[in-house]
């Protein structure tokens, strides 16, 4: 009787490159990027989500080792055996991948010059999710190295491998099992970009909201950066409040694990106690570790002691580990340490003077102030102050989203400071530069 195939019971898997090859022309960032793309090959077709972590508790530990390295498969220098990985299971090394540090690892090199690391990594991560060797020459799980499989940015698994992965984990929601792999070859050598979970990975569609006229669903400070959510999109600002791109990113492509049909969020905040990110929509909420949803979510908002109907806004208040929730004209104060609502809540109106009684969004920023958003405007409440700063509200689009005239909206030609947004990367519109006001878009 054949044993049951080894698989992961969880769907969110962490990974880490623990040791890197010495004296390799491939830099550490390139190695990490190639590992990311090799795992993505499997994550794109199955419900498995892979995220890189820094700690020592990663599910998939990746090492470049030489000779004997404390497992039954010692390496033998250049040639011979080049790598191996362990099937999922209870073994401490389950899922780990080991590469022979003495191979001439290469990337986008001619076949005769080294061993293509991406190709080998795709094969090994097939083992790491539970696939064994097969004889089929069209399979990436054939045991023999057969040269580079193709460009990491365009590579698609052969059908035989996709079917075997689907047998273990099922089909990812966004994948059609009958779709043929994209076998187009890249037009020429390109630099391998950074892993895409640090940037939006696809151009937005025609239905995107415009940042200069949007009334935002949620605003949050996450890892020190500002995120403005609207519908299925979000804009991102760096720590020094520079817009990363005038074009919004697609929420589902960045925050992996949100239901595909989710057309927006009500509130988002980074939890002060563990830095996990909490998304609210209606009666449900999701907890993210970095950019991947945790197992077991969504959960009902009643976990927080909130009534059905959800919240309009959430505000993480670092001091005292309190989180404020706002809904209609009420607010609640949640203690993150005791995981319970403070007595006396809900209470009427916001706790600060000069702030509207109903809110769209709220965020605490690095200057210590709390910012409240409603409609096209925002209010600022400095740290330890009981009320908003006089002179507020001010236009959100102008002060946060780099719009010169927020009222003009997307049709207001020449009214926005987004020079370079539609120009090739690295080029600036001189006329805008002379205004001393411009936004640069990185498109590569």
């Amino acid at each position: 009787q054949a044993p049951a195939p080894a698989t992961w019971s969880k769907r969110n898997l962490s990974w880490r490159v623990r040791t890197f090859p010495r004296d390799s022309p491939l830099g550490r960032d390139t190695v990490r990027a190639l590992m990311h793309y090799a795992l993505k090959v499997w994550g794109d077709i199955t419900p498995l989500n892979f995220h890189e972590v820094a700690g020592s508790s990663a599910d998939i530990q990746i090492d470049f080792s030489a000779a004997e390295h404390n497992d039954p498969f010692p390496f033998d220098g250049p040639g011979g055996t080049v790598a191996h990985a362990f099937l999922p299971g209870e073994h401490p090394a389950a899922g780990d991948a080991h590469f022979d540090a003495e191979e001439a690892w290469a990337f986008r090199a001619a076949d005769a010059h080294g061993v293509d690391l991406f190709s080998v990594a795709v094969h090994e991560f097939g083992h790491a999710i539970g696939l064994s060797h097969v004889a089929t020459t069209q399979s990436v799980m054939q045991p023999y190295y057969q040269g580079p499989v193709g460009d990491p940015l365009h590579y698609g698994l052969p059908y035989a491998d996709r079917v075997r992965a689907w047998q273990l984990y099922g089909v990812r929601e966004s994948v059609s099992p009958t779709a043929q792999p994209d076998t187009r070859e890249p037009g020429g050598p390109r630099l391998l970009p950074a892993p895409p979970d640090r940037r939006p990975s696809a151009p937005p569609g025609r239905d995107v909201p415009h940042r200069c006229s949007a009334h935002f669903d949620a605003v949050a400070q996450i890892r020190g950066e500002a995120f403005f959510f609207k519908g299925r999109y979000f804009w991102r600002l760096t720590r020094d409040r520079h817009l990363v791109s005038p074009q919004p990113a697609q929420m589902h492509r960045f925050w992996r694990g949100l239901p595909a049909q989710l057309d927006g969020v009500d509130a988002v905040y980074e939890r002060a106690t563990d830095h996990k990110i909490v998304f609210f929509r209606g009666d449900r909420y999701w907890v993210f570790k970095d950019t991947h949803v945790e197992e077991g979510f969504p959960r009902p908002v009643s976990d927080f002691g909130l009534p059905p109907g959800g919240v309009d806004a959430a505000l993480s208040w670092a001091r005292g580990d309190k989180t404020y929730f706002f809904k209609d004209q009420l607010f609640w104060r949640f203690d993150e340490l005791t995981r319970s609502m403070d007595p006396g809540h809900p209470a009427p109106g916001p706790a600060w003077g000069g702030v509207p009684r109903t809110l769209d969004a709220a965020m605490r920023w690095s200057d210590g102030a709390a910012y409240f958003f409603r409609g096209a405007d925002y209010w600022k409440v400095p740290d330890s102050e009981p009320a908003a700063v006089p002179g507020y509200p001010q236009p959100t689009a102008r002060d946060w989203l780099a719009c010169r005239d927020p009222q003009a909206g997307p049709g207001g030609a020449g009214t926005e400071g987004e020079a370079g947004a539609h120009a090739p990367a690295g080029r600036h519109d001189r006329s805008r530069a002379e205004d001393g006001f411009q936004v640069c878009a990185c498109s590569s």
């Binding site: 040639g79 011979g80 080049v82 990985a85 061993v115 060797h133 004889a135 045991p143 023999y144």
Partner: protein, 85 residues
């Protein structure tokens, strides 16, 4: 086919054992497997590698054995041999 050289035969047997086609050699006994067992293992390896299943350690088989590859065995090794009473 010409008989394989002794060193090729030795390394081929080691290769077959490492990747699950032959029982690992008994270091205490230090002897080669029976010819039938070796031919059967070679044929299995050749089928898996997409070669003609001759059961002979020929040049294409040796070349494939020298191809860089994954360390994991192609199939689980056979269990321990049953002892006769």
């Amino acid at each position: 086919a010409p008989a394989p050289r002794a060193e090729d035969l030795s390394s081929g047997v080691a290769w077959l054992g490492r990747f699950g086609y032959l029982r690992p050699a008994d270091p205490a006994a230090g002897r080669l497997p029976a010819p039938e067992e070796l031919a059967e293992a070679l044929a299995a390896m050749q089928r898996f590698a997409g070669l003609e299943a001759t059961g002979v350690l020929d040049a294409p088989t040796l070349a494939r054995m020298r191809t860089p590859r994954c360390s994991l065995p192609d199939r689980p090794g056979p269990g321990p041999a049953r002892r006769r009473r």
